[in-house]
């Protein structure tokens, strides 16, 4: 050991917090784009918020918990899926606006 066993988990938690913060900003942008006044937009805004909340709930312990983080976990595909979901909602909203 090189003497930094505590800092590795801390750096990783901080990286998680930055990532969840970025996901939050993206969600705000998605919701802003979705709320153009009609029902379909409102539903898609709901989907975006639900995906954000689910990702936050599932990754929260990894981002702000304490103690060791030795296990590999599902949080990686979950948070990536949330990002892809925001992109998909964005594509739907953009393509819908063309028609």
């Amino acid at each position: 050991m090189t003497g930094d066993p505590g800092l590795q988990p801390e750096r990783t938690r901080l990286a998680w917090r930055r990532t969840l913060l970025a996901l939050t900003v993206v969600t705000v942008l998605t919701v802003r784009l979705a709320l153009s006044g009609d029902a379909v937009g409102a539903v898609l805004a709901g989907v975006a918020i639900a995906g954000w909340a689910a990702a936050l709930a599932l990754c929260w312990r990894r981002a702000v918990g304490s103690g060791p983080m030795r296990d590999t976990s599902r949080t990686m595909p979950v948070v990536a899926l949330a990002a892809v979901g925001q992109a998909a909602v964005g594509v739907l909203l953009t393509v819908r606006g063309v028609w």
């Binding site: 970025a22 990536a80 594509v91």
Partner: protein, 130 residues
């Protein structure tokens, strides 16, 4: 392909191969994944911003095309980040060479080319507007 996706969501499967490495390697791999994911999220944010903050462009639907291209690129970066993270984790556990990838180079070229096209578009408009 679905088998691969299923494996991403099954941490036991990943832990079943090889031996558990020094946890610092796993955490470094995790942070690399998170950095890639933020890169993807930045592209998605760029697409969402283009869709709602750009004025309508002279070419029909160009604004929407830019937005969709950025959103798709961001989504691709996110999916590829998970795949690369899982393959790297597997390689670390098995003591193999880390997976090599062309993706960073391709992404850099795509972003560079996109920026160049925008510079040309801005210059053409500045000259044409005189």
């Amino acid at each position: 392909m679905w088998e691969t996706v299923r494996r991403w969501f099954d941490p036991r499967e990943l832990r079943s191969v090889g031996s558990t490495p020094d946890y610092r390697f796993s955490l470094a791999n995790e942070r690399t994944f998170l950095a890639w994911l933020r890169t993807g999220l930045a592209l998605v944010a760029g697409g969402l911003a283009a869709a709602q903050f750009l004025p309508p462009l002279p070419l029909a639907h160009l604004r929407e095309a830019i937005a969709v291209a950025l959103l798709l690129l961001g989504g691709t970066v996110a999916v590829r980040a998970v795949d690369h993270w899982a393959r790297t984790e597997r390689a670390i556990r098995l003591g193999e060479e880390l997976p090599a990838s062309r993706f960073p180079a391709v992404l850099a070229l795509a972003v560079g080319l996109g920026a160049l096209l925008l510079v040309v578009a801005v210059l053409v408009r500045a000259v044409g507007g005189q």
